[in-house]
């Protein structure tokens, strides 16, 4: 059997059950041993605007989405208008048959720019400006159409089960659509029903009703339609695989590594993390009393960071989680934590800026800001995770860095990782270590001074409530005790002490935690964060065609491991910078710190994550010497 690589996309109005459907589909596939990589796209809206979920399925490791759709499922007109053209020529569309007569002008949620492009396209294909026109254009290319009347299915189901309520249950069309898809794709019904059960696990009655509907729709599809040309099949299941969303990785990392205080202000896409923490606020602790995380929703992000600084002063591991706009508000307090050497972790789920920007879309827009946020010179570590799995282990590392080097750590995540659902190896808490650095448990002598000199610049750290450990902190420059001091010599001592910790961090943090080297070659990609997945998938595709390209993923972006990266790149001829922002923010760091300059940029700033195909094409162009210095990627609606 040839390998499976299949992309299923379901769209619908926000609040219409698209996410539930996608989770059922992903669960059903993962339950069959398949690898799953799903991503959600949505507008800043509660109900009604178009949202869609793409789930890529394979029997091999996958780390990104592809350009194009193998099977599109739409129970509303907008989904069909927006995505029909992206369905592969040998793909399929499952859709609500009642919609076919609808005209473009009748769909009010389509924006003017898109409508203009759609009309032009349909006219060029000589098709009417209706759903039928869009579907016919696809059919002409070879796409198989599966018209389904969800209304009719509900009516039949209602009669057969003697349950008149079902007739009007249009909310269930999402479950019906998934089940029909699974039927067409030849997967067994058991994993489908199990997945339905687990998605609705909170309410037994609703779970049962949906299982009945799923079973009915599955059978309906297998009887009514011939099998689709692509079939998925069950493969031996690997052990200890979880289906996780990115935000769950940092949450679980926080719980496992002992973060016991988190405050936050609601913001997309970061607040899912805090909500997860609060939902799991009490947990078991080995040979100990139950532990808990105190999650505090604050009045704004200024308060969120203020509270975690206060909490950290008591010795509790403390963190906040935010996105660009919230992080902007935290800048002043970040400096306070810097000057007072307070360990805190800020989990920064980036999205597209500036200002409110594209509030629900992806972006790696905040690297330079994370490095520079706050006035004055003060130390901080900026550390970026590349995917969900890294998110778990890196969270624990970030807390260790904060404790050991006594400084704020900004953990860079983003919307792409946050809302990706994928199969990953079950996180292993025994692999993380907890290092609290020079945090004191008791102090014998009463002459304790918080900022006492030390060769590495790191002073023993007391905590509020510790006998003989009294200290003072101030946002002003201060002396060894922490009292205000404007003395010039003391100023040099304190500034240099804090700055020195950056050198120590760069020296002590293991190189493999700073940079991941996937192999270098004449052409070498440098990148950071969630571009990792699409890059690795694209490299696999390139290797198959005989192209060689190297990849160095930089995880610690500040302090920047200049010497180490420089040494890795010694034989490299061309550097390719790949980032999801407009200006090439990491590229600027490379140009600042390295002898070599960036030769090529591949950038994307539409708010939609990169697909592996886009990268494959653009990297190939570079190696074939057909590329401009800067390529801008555009795929995705």
């Amino acid at each position: 059997m040839s390998s499976i690589d299949f992309t299923w996309v379901i769209g619908g109005p926000q609040g219409g059950g698209v996410e539930t459907a996608a989770n059922i589909f992903a669960g059903a596939c993962a339950g069959c041993g398949l690898q799953v990589f799903g991503k959600r796209e949505y507008y800043s809206n509660i109900k009604g605007e178009h949202s869609y979920f793409g789930v890529r399925v394979s029997d091999k490791i996958i780390r990104s989405n592809v350009s194009g759709i193998t099977m599109l499922v739409g129970f509303d007109a907008e989904t069909l208008f927006r995505h029909a053209d992206a369905v592969f020529d040998d793909g399929a569309i499952v859709y609500e048959s009642d919609l076919s007569g609808l005209k473009i002008d009748e769909v009010h949620t389509l924006d003017a720019q898109f409508k203009e492009r759609l009309v032009k396209y349909l006219l060029s294909k000589n098709k009417p400006l209706t759903i039928q026109g869009a579907l016919d254009a696809a059919k002409e290319r070879g796409v198989v159409l599966y018209p389904v009347s969800f209304k009719e299915i509900l009516a039949n189901l209602s009669d057969e089960t003697n349950n008149p309520k079902l007739r009007g249950m249009f909310r269930m069309q999402n479950v019906l659509a998934v089940s029909i898809s699974i039927g067409l794709l030849g997967l067994p019904p058991e994993t489908l029903l199990k997945s339905v059960g687990s998605v609705f696990s909170r309410k037994a009655e609703i779970a049962e009703m949906n299982k009945t509907a799923a079973n009915y729709a599955y059978n309906f599809a297998t009887v009514k339609y011939s099998k689709f040309r692509y079939q998925l099949s069950q493969i031996p299941k690997e052990e200890h695989v979880i289906l996780a969303q990115g935000f769950q990785s940092t949450s679980l990392g926080k719980i496992a590594c002992g973060c016991r205080f988190q405050s936050y202000y609601p913001i997309t896409p970061a607040s899912d993390e805090s909500v997860f923490l609060e939902s799991n606020e009490i947990f078991e602790v080995e040979n100990n009393r139950p532990g808990s995380t105190l999650v505090v929703q604050t009045e704004d992000e200024i308060s969120a960071i203020g509270m975690i600084i206060g909490a950290s002063l008591t010795g509790a591991r403390s963190a906040t989680s935010t996105s660009g706009p919230g992080f902007s508000l935290m800048a002043e307090a970040l400096g306070w934590a810097g000057i007072n050497e307070v360990p805190i972790v800020v989990t920064l789920y980036q999205r597209s800026g500036p200002s409110t920007g594209l509030p629900t879309r992806h972006g790696q827009d905040d690297l330079q800001f994370a490095i520079h946020a706050g006035h004055g010179d003060f130390p901080r570590i900026v550390y970026a995770s590349g995917d969900t799995e890294e998110g778990f282990y890196d969270t624990a590392k970030c807390f260790n860095f904060a404790d050991i080097y006594q400084m704020p750590v900004i953990h860079m995540m983003d919307k792409f990782i946050a809302s990706t659902v994928s199969t990953v190896k079950r996180f292993d808490p025994t692999k993380i270590t907890i290092e609290r650095g020079k945090l004191l448990e008791r102090i014998g002598e009463p002459e304790y001074k918080r900022f006492t000199p030390s060769p590495d610049g790191i002073s023993p750290r007391s905590r509020l409530g510790l006998e003989n450990g009294i200290f003072w902190n101030t946002g002003d420059e201060s002396d060894e005790s922490g009292h205000i001091s404007e003395d010039p010599e003391n100023r040099i001592y304190k500034m240099d002490k804090r700055a020195h910790k950056m050198e120590i961090a760069l020296d002590k943090i293991p190189k493999e935690d700073q940079v991941i080297n996937y192999g270098v070659s004449d052409f070498c990609i440098l990148s950071w964060g969630s571009t990792k997945g699409p890059i690795l998938d694209a490299i696999e595709m390139l290797n198959k065609e005989g192209y060689k390209v190297g990849f160095v993923q930089i995880k610690m972006l500040h302090p920047f491991p200049a010497q180490y990266v420089q040494s890795l790149l010694s034989g490299v001829k061309k550097i390719i910078d790949i980032e999801a922002n407009q200006s090439g923010q990491m590229g600027s760091l490379l140009n600042e710190y390295l002898d070599k300059k960036v030769d090529y940029y591949i950038l994307k700033y539409t708010g939609r994550p990169m697909t592996c195909n886009e990268l494959f094409d653009s990297i190939k162009k570079i190696i074939d010497n057909k590329a401009e210095k800067k390529q801008v990627l555009t795929y995705g609606v």
């Binding site: 205080f261 799991n280 947990f283």
Partner: protein
């Protein structure tokens, strides 16, 4: 056990202006801590930015001089993470009611068990005397180029409206009363607010010590000044919510709001409102997390020999495919 006022003093040089009301407040805090015999390492003073921000450096307990306007977030975070600490937050009126007003309101809603003192002098002293949120409309203190164009905020009324469960006013030159009010505030389980009238001898030339004493208002018969300041307890005022009923609460809130509007001729000090029935934040939290008070964030064991001891297996099981 320490109980000497001197034990709570640091040797840091105090650089407030001669005659500043802040001296009285610092003394009152030191006296209150000594009288309550709170061990030095079990108390922490958080301060905002401005003249009052230096307070934490003059007290020999843990001292955290925070950012302008942010004293409440910092201090609440510490108290929530370690409920054993006695937490007192101090700041100016600009700090708490201008730049930090949002935190003031939000803190009231939470009712964390701690005490907040505002040093209220009507001006931004450290930046040379601009009008603060409590300066009355139309007043022109000496460094203002024009009279104040804004209405003033009423700190007592705002505290009551925001949900503070202990609301009182002291006067910087009545250190004994202020000390007693601080003790009552610290002992109250919930968020206590103390509005401390604190004449700024350098920039507020209107609401001066003499003005509060009524030196501009001499009784023609006795030839004595008629003091503006009086004590609520001397007029039979009862601030306490005695029974758990909305009507009782409404009555106490309303009388406090009415009292809070007295100014100019007569200025009340003492406790305006005290509600021991309302649950504090830690009590509410303990209903959700039963061992929160005994095993708070600051004291939880998180590792053994460098390894995590938290069991997340149930959470992971839920994600297994």
């Amino acid at each position: 056990m320490v109980s000497n006022v001197a034990d709570y003093k640091t040797e840091v040089h105090n650089d407030w202006c001669p005659g500043c009301g802040d001296f009285g407040i610092v003394s009152a805090i030191q006296m209150a801590l000594a009288e309550m015999e709170i061990p030095r390492h079990k108390a922490v003073i958080f301060s905002g930015v401005g003249c009052s921000g230096k307070t934490s450096h003059y007290l020999n307990v843990y001292g955290v001089h925070t950012l302008h306007g942010r004293v409440l977030p910092f201090s609440q975070g510490a108290k929530l993470a370690n409920p054993e600490m006695t937490v007192v937050a101090v700041g100016g009126d600009g700090d708490g009611l201008g730049i930090g007003a949002g935190h003031f309101v939000a803190a009231g809603r939470r009712n964390v068990d701690m005490t907040y003192l505002i040093f209220n002098n009507g001006v931004y002293g450290l930046t040379k005397g601009q009008a603060s949120p409590t300066l009355k409309l139309g007043l022109q203190t000496k460094s203002l180029p024009e009279p104040n164009v804004n209405q003033s905020v009423n700190p007592i009324a705002l505290a009551i409206a925001s949900g503070f469960t202990f609301v009182a006013r002291g006067y910087a030159y009545d250190v004994r009363q202020l000390k007693d009010l601080i003790i009552a505030a610290v002992k109250h389980r919930g968020l206590s607010f103390l509005d401390v009238l604190q004449p700024c001898p350098t920039y507020n030339d209107i609401n001066t010590r003499d003005w509060f004493s009524g030196m501009d208002n001499i009784d023609e018969i006795t030839n004595r000044p008629r003091p503006r300041i009086y004590k609520l307890e001397d007029v039979g005022y009862d601030p306490v919510v005695h029974i758990d009923s909305p009507q009782e609460e409404n009555e106490k809130l309303t009388q406090a709001l009415i009292k809070s509007n007295e100014w100019d001729a007569k200025i009340p000090t003492g406790i305006f409102y005290k509600n021991d029935i309302a649950q504090s934040y830690d009590q509410r939290m303990a209903e959700r997390i039963p061992n929160y008070i005994e095993n708070p964030p600051a004291y939880q064991e998180i590792s053994a020999a460098g390894k995590s001891i938290t069991d997340i297996s149930k959470m992971l099981d839920k994600l297994e495919v």
